[in-house]
Amino acid sequence: MNTANFKLPSYLTQSEAVKARFDDLKRRDVILEVSELGKTFESINGPVTALEGVNFRVHRREFVTVIGPSGCGKSTLIRILAGLESTSTGEVLLGGHPVDTPGPDRGMVFQGYTLFPWLTVKKNVMFGLRNQGFGDAEASREALEWIQLVGLEKFADVYPDELSGGMKQRVAIARALAAKPRILLMDEPFGALDAQTRSKMQSYLLEIWRHLDITVLFITHDLDEAIYLADRILVLDANPGRVNEVIEVAVPRPRTPAQFLQPEFLSARQRLDELIHPPSVTEEAVALDLSRLVREGEQTDAQD
């Protein structure tokens, strides 16, 4: 998309209302604080640094998306936050307490559908509640409320394999939220869905988030998705993964898909394009030897 021809405002320009919202947001408690986080893997070619010196904070009820080129360690980052992987250096604080193991205070929605196939939708959503010691009746009642929230009450007694991809992810969201996490970690949750379902799911997620006291950290490789959902976008660099820039999205809330063409949206989009696809890379990518194919094309044209 070449937006350079239009007179776009700087992506840093914020309306009064948006500025006020960000001021308010920054006054809220810090839920998640990541400081000097680093991760090094051992490989056969020696150690590989996936993340280095990552610093950021997430405030209560904030929606943060994380974006970056492939290999920037976004998945590693979210797995560390979830406690599924250890840190090499640095610290992760959740509500001021260090975390290094998985726990129900950090809910997670994975890209692959990780619903338990042997449990019905309702039993899946009850899983976290039962682990926390809720009785069967209470967990069941609570689970049904969450299933209602994602609009799947008709499917409460159905097994996950009978659901479509989008429905599965809605159940996964309900299951994660039912365990009452302080932050919801989402690792490219809509990456496997078709475009139409994905945009529906984005609206769903925003709607749910608007009505709950929940903080979201959302990983994606889709630039539009990153802007559409976020208060702030964490842009990562690759090799090693580190925070390149944190963008405050100036698009007002509540969001609708119509905003995809608003100047604020496009300027953020342009900035992301610059950060994620530096000009040098795009130019060299087209240097292919096409001579033979071109000749075949010309022959076909001549026959017509």
Binding site: A82, G83, F116, P117, W118
Partner: protein, 321 residues
């Protein structure tokens, strides 16, 4: 109906074709057997003597190779004695289908000849019990151990190398030892089934446990599951359908150890019946008994497969069962 549809790679057949082929898979071997048995010019290497003639060692009903018979025939013809006569026959170890069918029926209706002997169904029942106890004992230890091996690397390391070694030792090799320790009756037989099943079982179950999608465990962890809940609420239910299929296959292996097991100590069960009948050259009874083992195995497997479908309703949803 194009003929290519029969051989489209990995395309399911229509139910009608499936049934037809299932029937054929039994019918074709039977047809082959019947052809060899009832067509006198196919194979039939022997002559069953109907008229001994002047040959001194010929007796009515006796079988002799065709070449030897012809030699004797020529000799009598030259000597002017009365000629022997006979019909072409298959060797005694290949009875015709109808003979086996009759034997199959009469083996259940014939009283044991001696008081110490058992009815066929009693022998069979004894064999089934040996299998059952050997398999149950093996499963009680082997399945939990396999699950632990597949879940915890430490258990796997201290356990599996030895099991890998042990599973190469042929179970019947422990026969004499089993008799020395457990006596001559059912003990050593159950032990052989156990040894033959157990070591494979640990490895197969461990492998099945490792196949469980790790992201299910990770999801459970982020939902606050502790180690015990991971094992009992994720690992075990997660592998259950595959574990059930493994057990069906392992049960089939247990049957293959039956004959060897029953020869150890005092011969018993269906094996005793088979060896006894073979000694009397009643090969139609031997065939009947072997077929019976096959039928029991097949029927129990089909029953277990049907049961599996109702045990794991979520498998039906995805059509995996």
């Amino acid at each position: 109906m194009s003929s290519s549809a029969w051989f489209a790679p990995r395309v399911a057949l229509s139910p009608r074709r499936e049934r037809a082929l299932t029937a054929l898979s039994f019918f074709l071997p039977l047809l082959l057997w019947a052809t060899v048995s009832y067509t006198p010019f196919i194979w039939h290497p022997n002559i069953e003597i109907t008229e001994p003639g002047s040959v001194s060692y010929f007796q009515q009903g006796m079988q002799i190779e065709r070449a030897a018979f012809n030699e004797e025939l020529e000799r009598q013809r030259a000597a002017g004695g009365s000629l022997p006569d006979g019909v072409r026959a298959n060797p005694v170890y290949l009875p015709a289908p109808h003979e086996v069918a009759i034997a199959f029926y009469t083996s259940f209706t014939t009283e044991p000849q001696r008081r110490s002997e058992q009815w066929l169904h009693q022998s069979l029942w004894h064999s089934i019990q040996i299998i059952f106890w050997g398999f149950i004992l093996s499963s009680v230890v082997g399945v939990p151990l396999g699950i632990l091996c597949g879940t915890f690397a430490a258990v796997s390391r201290i356990q599996e190398p030895f099991v890998e070694f042990f599973r190469y030792l042929p179970a019947p090799a422990f026969g004499a030892l089993a008799v020395a320790i457990l006596g001559i009756y059912d003990g050593p037989k159950i032990a052989i089934i156990f040894i033959g099943t157990f070591f494979q079982q640990v490895l197969v179950v461990a492998n099945t446990t490792r196949q469980l999608d790790i992201s299910l465990l990770e999801a459970a962890l982020t939902l606050g599951a502790n180690r015990r809940q991971l094992l009992f609420k994720v690992v075990i239910p997660g592998i259950l359908p595959q574990l059930y299929r493994d057990q069906r296959i392992l049960l089939g292996w247990a049957w293959t150890y039956l004959i060897v097991a029953e020869l150890i100590g005092t011969s018993s069960g269906i094996t005793w019946f088979i060896t006894q009948q073979a000694r009397y050259q009643n090969f139609e009874n031997v065939f009947a008994a072997i077929i019976m083992i096959g039928i029991i195995g097949l029927l129990s497997d089909v029953a277990l497969a049907k049961l599996g479908k109702s045990l794991f309703p979520w498998e039906r949803a995805s059509n995996k069962a």
